[in-house]
């Protein structure tokens, strides 16, 4: 088809070609398209004049606004820091009870704590600090290293078995090979008896377990099994368990040993943030108490 047909519907001519029944009209490009091109290209031109845009050999056009994203971020961060400086200094200077007593600061903790705790702590310790298998509860009274504010602040700063030079270090050894499997079960029964868990209460067995406990466990967990916060050794005589107090879990714990791990937050969270978290733990504990 070389003759240019006219499309009866639109009145436009075809280009005179045909492919497998398909023809094309030679319609002019609508004016709106040219306007559209003009506007979008003007937008680009203006942006190139105002902003950093085109590279040269060693440098690039800076744009007459002199904007650079790095400077912008630094400025924004500086402004934000400035706006928070007052209360953050107070947060560092005051102790936990003073912060809780100050309505303005307490409100900031209530507003900031959930997101701070949610983004940094909740993945292991749970949304409300309730803990879970392998991760201690932060809302009970059982503390591995002590629950007073200064100790908590220090734990947050250096972490546990973390890569911080001052990190807290705690390791429970694996007794596989040191104690026989029956001995492990025996001492496990004794440990269960300390916290009143129902188990094999045969007096002879408990006596044997106590001897094993004194020889192998008491140096860290104490003669009475109440633990030692200087060593991060948990209290075995209460009803709080990190990994579990059932036969199988205790057996695994003693056989394989345990080594918990908590990151050091110094360098990631500043002192004000760590203080907010410390105060917020009290809020969480109150929350639990009222439930």
């Amino acid at each position: 088809m070389t003759v240019k047909d006219r499309d009866p519907l639109t009145g436009h001519k075809t280009t005179g070609h045909e492919w497998n029944g398909i023809t094309e009209l030679n319609t002019r490009v609508p004016k709106s398209i040219w306007w559209f091109i003009l506007v979008s290209h003007l937008y680009a031109l203006i942006a190139w004049v105002l902003l950093p845009a085109w590279p040269g050999i060693n440098d690039y056009t800076k744009g007459i606004l002199g904007i650079d994203q790095r400077d912008q971020v630094e400025q924004k961060v500086a402004v934000m820091r400035e706006s928070r400086a007052d209360w953050r200094e107070q947060m560092v200077a005051l102790d936990v009870d003073e912060i809780r007593a100050d309505p303005a600061l307490a409100a900031i903790v209530a507003g900031t704590g959930p997101a701070l705790f949610g983004d940094n702590c909740a993945a292991c310790h749970g949304t409300f600090g309730q803990g879970g298998p392998g991760y201690p509860s932060l809302v009970d009274d059982a503390w591995l290293w002590g629950g007073d504010p200064d100790t908590i602040m220090e734990t947050l700063r250096v972490g546990i078995n973390a890569d911080h030079p001052d990190t807290r270090f705690a390791q429970m050894m694996a007794f596989d090979g040191v104690l026989g499997r029956d001995e492990i079960r025996t001492v496990a029964n004794y440990v269960q008896s300390l916290s009143g868990i129902e188990s094999d209460s045969d007096p002879d067995r408990l006596a044997a377990g106590e001897k094993l406990f004194m020889d192998n466990c008491a140096s860290c967990h104490g003669d009475d099994g109440t633990g030692n916060t200087d060593l991060g050794a948990p209290n075995l005589a209460d009803d709080q368990w990190i990994y579990g107090g059932d036969d199988q879990t205790l057996f695994t714990t003693i056989l394989k040993g345990r080594e918990g791990w908590m990151p050091a937050w110094e360098g990631r969270l500043d002192e004000a943030d760590r203080k907010i978290l410390t105060v917020y733990l009290r809020d969480l504990k109150d929350r639990k108490a009222t439930q």
Binding site: M1, D7, L9, T10, T14, T15, H17, W19, N20, G21, I22, T23, E24, L25, N26, T27, R28, V29, P30, I33, F36, I37, S40, H41, Y43, A44, A47, W48, L51, P52, A53, W54, P55, Y60, T61, G63, I67, D68, Q69, R70, M80, S83, R84, W87, A107, I108, G111, T112, P114, A115, L116, F117, G118, D119, A122, T127
Partner: protein
């Protein structure tokens, strides 16, 4: 398949297959203990299977008819079926991971089923499996018809189609085993990438050689787009996958690029995969099947030229808009942003050209679900290109980036544009290729259309809501100037939208399964067999072809 080859061609095909089988054997032996060994067995089994198929008819009589008098449609048939197989796999996995995001336990605690492995199975299955097979099949169809010439070569089309599918299988099975380059949409490892280069060069040669023997003085627009797709994807694939294998007997490799250069190369590739794979190729489809089905002339040839050159010129610049507010220098981001905005005009010009072409055929859009697929695809193409340019503007991007809005945007393109135009094209092509009067059931096409449209709309509305909620929650500060929400709060807020998204995906998947059934039944249904005048020809009157030298 083999019955239509001459004895000499069968021998060549056999030789190629034996070489591939030997490569597979070497990979299996040397890569034992690594994922490469498993891939070696896959290559070996695939090539032995084909050797078996070929060998079964090795002694069959050679074809007596003049093959140049008819189009070579057998590879197209297989390509359409493979496209639908991958559609069901890719969409099935996609919907599974969509449910998994709402209910993480659906992972069933296996390593292979983790989101990080299943997600690339979904994206590769859809983009390369479904989209790629549809592009190869329709490009062979369109090229032959608009050139009035038979495909150049008897073995090459099979090599391209089956070789390409071998690549997709190697890619997808690799992800399941944990093999990945960690480059989005280019996760497959080095040996699979090398294989794709070989296949792709064969594809390019096939296309150019067929075009060279055309019986039309001019090259139709659809072929410009298909050619741009084939050529640029080759360049993108080769550059982005430049890597040094850690060992020649294992899958692991290290990219030639590092740091921000690596990121920029990746997104130059990534966005141009959108541009030249998911846009240019499918515009080729649109430019043939839509006017053909509507029986209307293309609205404006001049607009076709403007949009083609606009798209291929502007798209190649815009990849940096994926890296706004990162370590990428500010000036590169400005260029990406401004070129993205300029790109909108040629994109809309193609969508407009398609929609204006439907003037005078709107009653067909109403009555014919196949044409309606293509109409809605053009609308979604316009919508998602507008959205893309909008999201490329830096301040907008600061809200949308890393949120589900991006996921919604990409699915407006992938479901609304790419999949719908593909379904329209396949429904248009299937009766022609199998020489049937119509599809097996037009009602099922209607069902597919409404399920696909409903699924797409539910999906993108869910993700718009989810993404904007997420983006706003991330940047909400309280009075003290600290963050209002933790990340987990935002995840909880997205949960209902995730369920809605998974339901939308499920509707879309059901539609695709219905479509597959309909295509299968059309192929099997010999009742409707018709013989229309559809063959290569050098004469204006449609006389059978003057055979062009094979």
């Amino acid at each position: 398949m083999a019955a239509k080859l001459t004895f000499a061609e069968r021998q060549v095909a056999l030789l190629i297959l034996v070489v591939i089988a030997l490569v597979g054997l070497a990979m299996a032996a040397l890569g034992a203990g690594d994922a490469m060994g498993v891939h070696g067995f896959i290559v070996l089994i695939a090539s032995l299977g084909l050797i078996f198929v070929l060998g079964a008819s090795l002694d069959a009589p050679a074809p007596t008819e003049d093959r140049s008098r008819e189009y070579y449609d057998d590879p197209i048939k297989v390509g359409i079926v493979l496209a639908m197989v991958w559609a069901v796999i890719g969409m099935g996995v996609g919907d599974w991971v969509a449910w998994m995001l709402a209910y993480p336990d659906l992972r069933f605690d296996a390593a292979w089923s983790s989101f990080g492995r299943m997600r690339p199975v979904h994206t590769t299955g859809i983009i390369f499996g479904f989209g790629g097979n549809a592009l190869i099949a329709t490009s062979m169809h369109v090229m032959q018809r608009t050139s009035r010439a038979r495909l150049a070569g008897q073995i090459a089309p099979w090599f391209v189609l089956l070789g390409y599918n071998l690549f997709v299988v190697l890619a997808v099975t690799g992800y399941v085993m944990g093999v990945t380059q960690s480059k989005e949409y280019a996760e497959a490892e080095w040996y699979a990438d090398i294989w794709l280069v070989i296949v792709w060069v064969a594809y390019f040669a096939l296309y150019i050689r067929t075009l060279a023997r055309r019986n039309e003085p001019h090259i139709y627009v659809a072929n410009w787009y298909y050619l741009a797709f084939i050529l640029v994807v080759a360049v993108l694939h080769i550059v982005n996958n430049l890597a040094v294998p850690a060992s020649f007997t294992a899958a692991k490799s290290y990219s030639l690029f590092s740091g921000v250069q690596d990121a920029m190369t990746q997104w130059w590739y990534g966005h141009n995969a959108v541009a030249f794979f998911l846009t240019a190729g499918f515009l080729g489809m649109l430019y043939y099947y839509l006017p053909k089905r509507a029986q209307r002339p293309i609205y404006s040839y001049r607009l076709s030229i403007l949009s083609f050159w606009g798209i291929v010129f502007f798209y190649i610049w815009v990849g940096s808009h994926h890296l706004h507010y990162t370590a990428l220098p500010h000036w590169v981001q400005t260029l990406g942003m401004t070129f993205s905005v300029m790109l909108l005009v040629p994109s809309w010009a193609s969508a407009g050209n398609a929609l204006m072409t439907l003037n005078g055929a709107w009653h067909k859009v109403r009555d014919d679900a196949t044409l309606r697929f293509m109409f809605v695809a053009a609308v979604f193409y316009g919508l998602s290109t507008f959205e893309g340019s909008f999201m490329a503007i830096r301040p907008v991007n600061s809200l949308s980036h890393y949120t589900d809005w991006t996921v919604g945007h990409v699915h407006a393109g992938a479901m609304g544009w790419v999949a719908l135009i593909t379904f329209g094209a396949i429904y248009a092509a299937t009766p022609i290729i199998w020489r049937r009067e119509t599809m097996y059931s037009w009602k099922l096409v209607e069902w597919h259309f409404w399920l696909a449209l409903a699924g797409t709309v539910i999906y993108i509305f869910a993700m718009w809501n989810s993404g904007i909620v997420q983006g706003l929650m991330w940047r909400t500060y309280n009075e003290a100037g600290t963050l209002q929400y933790s990340f987990m709060d935002t995840v909880e807020a997205m949960h209902p939208y995730y369920i809605a998204r998974a339901i939308g995906g499920l509707l879309f998947l059901i539609g695709a399964i219905i479509g597959f059934y309909n295509i299968w039944m059309t192929a099997r249904d010999v009742r409707g067999e018709v013989h229309t005048l559809d063959h290569p020809t050098g004469s204006e009157a449609g006389e059978p072809a003057v055979p062009v030298a094979e």
